[in-house]
């Protein structure tokens, strides 16, 4: 493949991803709210097509175009999906943390909805990223789970955020749920560095780990294209999940922070419920 093609793919995928993220933020503001009248179909179709095209290109680059690795042979090709998935999971955890802090500083249903969306989408990417890591471990280390520090730390964080989602399910009062889950989100995120160090030290006492080699320059392109493709997917997932969360919130409370209707007399007449 020519250098020109290389550059086009590299910068094109980045540009596409950034444009989609920008559009995603715009749609999150204009289209996701329940009362939105916006017709977002053309934009959404475009974004989805961009995701699929880039995913296909990334798959081709990773599975066909990239050369074999000197030590890992073909098996290393798994990292083209595994690593971007982990990156996206980390990104959503940071986003979730930001939402949690923001909600405690200033209560807002949109922040709460985004926190919910980011945690769930993060669990998706982290979950299958972890499974991919285990699959990668089988031919590399001979076992599915070798207590590799990165994977182990990620697994602990995933369980932590599963508990976060469980808490959201188990609290019915939406106001309390939002506050409590924000507190739990902050506490969970603060654990990240501690988990990392503890797991690293814990492992280093046993053996030095043969971690996957950090990526060769020639493989960087495949990894980048795949990562940008995943970022587009992440944006789309977050956008749709955020919209669902907003609609759920609307069903639970009167959005946007509406006051009760101001006509008691007229309501009393046709009120069917007896106090």
């Amino acid at each position: 493949m020519s250098g020109l093609m290389n550059a086009v793919l590299q910068y094109g995928s980045a540009a596409a991803a950034l444009v989609v993220v920008g559009l995603g933020i715009r749609l999150g503001r204009k289209w996701a709210p329940v009362d939105s009248q916006m017709d977002a179909r053309p934009m959404l179709v475009g974004m989805s097509v961009a995701a699929l095209v880039l995913l296909a290109v990334g798959g081709w680059l990773g599975l066909v175009w990239s050369p074999q690795d000197r030590e890992m042979g073909d098996v290393y090709r798994i990292i083209y999906v595994h690593v971007p998935a982990m990156w996206m999971a980390m990104l959503t955890l940071v986003l979730n943390f930001a939402c949690c802090v923001s909600y405690l500083l200033k209560a807002n249903w949109k922040t709460d909805a985004l926190a919910e969306a980011s945690a769930e989408v993060g669990l998706l990417f982290g979950g299958f990223g972890l499974v991919l890591g285990a699959i990668w471990g089988r031919p590399t280390w001979g076992v599915y789970w070798d207590w590799d520090p990165r994977l182990t730390a990620m697994a602990i964080m995933l369980v932590t955020y599963t508990a976060y989602m469980a808490l959201r399910r188990f609290v019915e009062d939406p106001d309390k749920r939002a506050v409590w889950s924000s507190v739990v989100g902050i506490i969970s995120f603060a654990n990240l560095p501690i988990v990392w160090f503890s797991v690293k030290w814990w492992r280093s006492l046993h053996q030095v780990q043969s971690t996957p080699k950090t990526v060769d320059p020639e493989m960087a392109l495949s990894l980048r294209v795949n990562a940008w493709a995943f970022l587009i997917l992440l944006t789309l997932f977050l956008l749709h999940r955020y919209r669902i969360a907003l609609a759920t919130r609307e069903a639970e409370v009167a959005l946007p922070d509406a006051l009760p209707p101001d006509a008691p007399a007229s309501r009393d007449g046709n009120s069917t419920e007896v106090a």
Binding site: L104, V159, A163, L167, V171, I194
Partner: protein, 231 residues
């Protein structure tokens, strides 16, 4: 006329801690059950592993902390259940008692409870698993205190939350266990080093990790707890 005047945070903590310990003492039947539960847990590990004394001795630190962890879920869950009857937590808030003082007193109370439980479990562990405390009682108690504090601080926040949720008995361990894995890891490792000797000077890093964990979570609990209980 009686005139109330604001009291310091420290004094409020002392009053509230005294109240919690008094309740704990007056309901000591429950406390006894907790002690026997954790003793039974220690005993169960030996049956689960089999009569391999070497294996038991090597893993003694881990078993001790698992037993403490299981007991801690019960103790933590109870610490806000006593405040739910008659909405006494509301009564405290409106008294007014500083919510941060409520956090500190509850977390300290749970720490005291767990350290006491640990102090009872350690001799049993020594006898049951045939280990000896190579580094002496001082480091052992230090690690015990650090580990119990590490469980108590996030445990208190989560207990206050889970107590008002559905399925609270499942929710508390579900939220707490993954969070305190690093603390459990560090405490179990440090205990093993205290029991078996520390030729490579690793005890410092593990206790450092425990101290860091404690600083973060006592700090976060102090700041965030008022948001949990105030509406």
């Amino acid at each position: 006329m009686r005139r109330s005047r604001p009291i310091s945070l420290l004094k409020a903590v002392v009053v509230l801690l005294g109240k919690d310990l008094l309740i704990e003492w007056r309901t000591r039947a429950r406390l006894n059950a907790l002690i026997f539960f954790s003793l039974a847990t220690l005993l169960l590990f030996s049956f689960a592993v089999g009569p391999d004394t070497k294996l038991l001795a090597r893993n003694a630190g881990g078993y001790l902390w698992l037993a403490l962890l299981f007991a801690s879920v019960l103790a933590l869950g109870e610490s806000f259940r006593v405040e739910q009857e008659n909405l006494t937590l509301d009564g405290l808030r409106m008294a007014p008692a500083d919510a941060r003082a409520i956090f500190l007193s509850k977390a300290l109370g749970n720490t005291v409870l767990l350290v006491g439980l640990g102090a009872l479990l350690i001799p049993v562990m020594i006898a049951l698993y045939g280990v000896k405390v190579t580094l002496g009682a001082g480091p052992m108690l230090g690690i015990l205190a650090l580990g119990c504090m590490a469980v108590a601080a996030p445990g208190t926040v989560y207990s206050a939350i889970a107590n008002n949720a559905r399925a609270r008995d499942v929710l508390l361990p579900l939220m707490l266990f993954p969070l305190i894995i690093p603390a459990l890891l560090a405490a179990a490792k440090a205990t093993t080093l205290v029991l078996q000797g520390d030729p490579m000077n690793q005890l410092g890093s593990w206790s450092g990790l425990l101290i860091g964990f404690n600083l973060i979570y006592w700090g976060l609990g102090f700041v965030l707890f008022p948001r949990v209980i105030e509406d």
